[in-house]
């Protein structure tokens, strides 16, 4: 049984952005020596996400636009204003990115794929995206590969 954990850094360049990390996930699998098993990927941050969708720009725009619609950056007025808008003594600053945290929950923070014969098994249109909701920041993604050697 092989269990390997890799940490990759992703530099986002926009406030909100989808970054294709499929090559990095496949590279981690190739480097692991696992022949049959499973690969898991997870963002280390609560204002970013990981999700799987078709790798085309129009869908990237739709994903970001509708997550913003559901959990807007600027707090809605009234009942749905954000409780997170307050001073966080452990951070030395105010929390005003509740919308970004909520997007992370809605879009998800992890994904997994089977590994067969040393290759990631994924649908022909599926891409793995790191999703930035509060960039630009250097972010960490955990990739863990588990399985049997050849």
């Amino acid at each position: 049984m092989i269990i390997k954990l890799e940490r990759i850094e992703v530099q986002s360049r926009q406030g909100m952005e989808m970054i294709d990390i499929t090559p990095q996930v496949e590279q981690a699998v190739a480097a692991s020596g696992v022949h049959n098993g499973l690969v898991l990927a997870m963002t280390a941050h609560t204002s970013s996400g990981l999700l799987v969708t078709e790798g085309i720009e129009c869908l990237e725009r739709d994903v970001l636009a509708h997550l913003e619609r559901l959990a807007p950056k600027e707090p809605p007025a009234g009942t749905f204003g954000y409780w997170h808008n307050r001073y966080l003594d452990y951070d030395g600053r105010l929390g005003f990115n509740a919308g970004d945290h909520l997007k992370s929950i809605l879009g998800g923070v992890n994904c997994f794929f089977p590994i067969e014969n040393g290759k990631v098994v994924r649908g022909s249109r599926q891409k793995v995206y790191f999703v930035e909701y509060d960039g630009p920041l250097a972010r960490t993604v955990f990739i863990q590969v588990l399985g049997e050697a050849a």
Binding site: Q11, R13, Q14, G15, E74, P75, Y82, N85, R86, Y87, L88, Y90, D91, G92, R93, L94, F96, D134, G135, P136, L137, A138
Partner: protein, 285 residues
């Protein structure tokens, strides 16, 4: 987005390259400045400026040797960081309790190329109108550099708010009419006092880096349209307001969007984001 303008109030506490070179900066960030965010490559800082549509950032250190036995960046470290990017403008800090402070300021400006003085009365524990500091202010005046004073509220544990009350700065503004002074954070919660001083003393400026509850949009709307009408800033103080974010306590992009959303005219926004800061930085003799 077109990149023009200056963020007049940033603290480079999270720059990973500098923490790697100077490990004591991690303690300065966590235990003195009291910020909990992850360290980031310098590139993240510059990208923050990019997406806020700004070209440059003023970097502020704090020399708290007497009061806290530490510095939050030395002048040399600020100069070292500025050498990494032409988009960074370094200010100096000196220990106000040090009799050699005026000479150290002269060295920081003439030898290290720093372009202003940052003082933080609450963290450095001094009253701005203490006459023993007048030689320091005279040195800044002679050098033609601005002094940016932390004013108003201070988050750091152990910092007393009384040092940041705006009236502590009146004698300085009155006794040094040729010395450009910037009161940071709109001196909140004493914003009306700070506005009164700015109305009376044309050498006194205010920066926008104020956020003490809610979020940048709602806080600035409260401070700059409700507590004091926006027309006061637009009509009377348009040449005395500079954009500041207080990064990393507030992301530059968020504060810039909040200021742009207040309702200022485009010419006034150009003064706030660009021209006033350029004028303050351009007086070096």
């Amino acid at each position: 987005m077109l990149q023009r303008g200056i963020d007049f109030h940033t603290h480079p506490l999270l720059v990973r390259e500098m923490v790697a070179r100077h490990p004591e900066l991690e303690r300065a960030a966590r235990e003195t400045f009291y910020i909990g965010n992850n360290f980031q490559p310098l590139e993240s800082f510059l990208l923050e400026l990019d997406i806020a549509g700004l070209e440059k950032a003023v970097l502020l250190p704090i020399d708290a040797t007497s009061s806290r036995n530490t510095t939050v960046y030395t002048n040399e470290q600020i100069a070292e960081l500025c050498a990494m990017s032409p988009r960074l403008v370094g200010f100096a800090s000196v220990d106000p309790h040090d009799p050699e402070a005026p000479e150290k300021l002269r060295e920081a400006v003439t030898k290290l190329g720093l372009r202003g003085l940052k003082l933080a009365p609450a963290m450095q524990q001094f009253y701005a109108d203490d006459r023993t500091l007048y030689p320091l202010y005279e040195a800044a005046r002679e050098l033609g550099i601005p002094i940016l004073f932390h004013s108003g509220m201070s988050w750091e544990p152990g910092s007393r708010l009384q040092y940041g009350q705006p009236m502590q700065f009146e004698n300085v503004a009155a006794d040094f009419p040729d010395l450009p002074i910037v009161l940071a954070h709109l001196a909140w919660p004493w914003i009306t006092d700070a506005v009164a001083l700015a109305l009376k003393y044309p050498n006194l400026h205010l920066d926008t880096s104020a956020l003490y509850f809610d979020n940048p949009r709602d806080f600035l709307r409260y401070a700059m349209t409700q507590t004091v009408p926006l027309t006061v800033f637009e009509r009377s103080l348009r040449k005395q307001i500079v954009f500041g974010s207080n990064y990393p306590r507030v992301e530059i992009k968020n504060m810039a969007a909040a200021v742009r959303g207040l309702g200022f005219s485009e010419p006034c926004l150009d003064l706030i984001f660009r021209e006033n800061a350029q004028r303050l930085l351009g007086g070096r003799r």
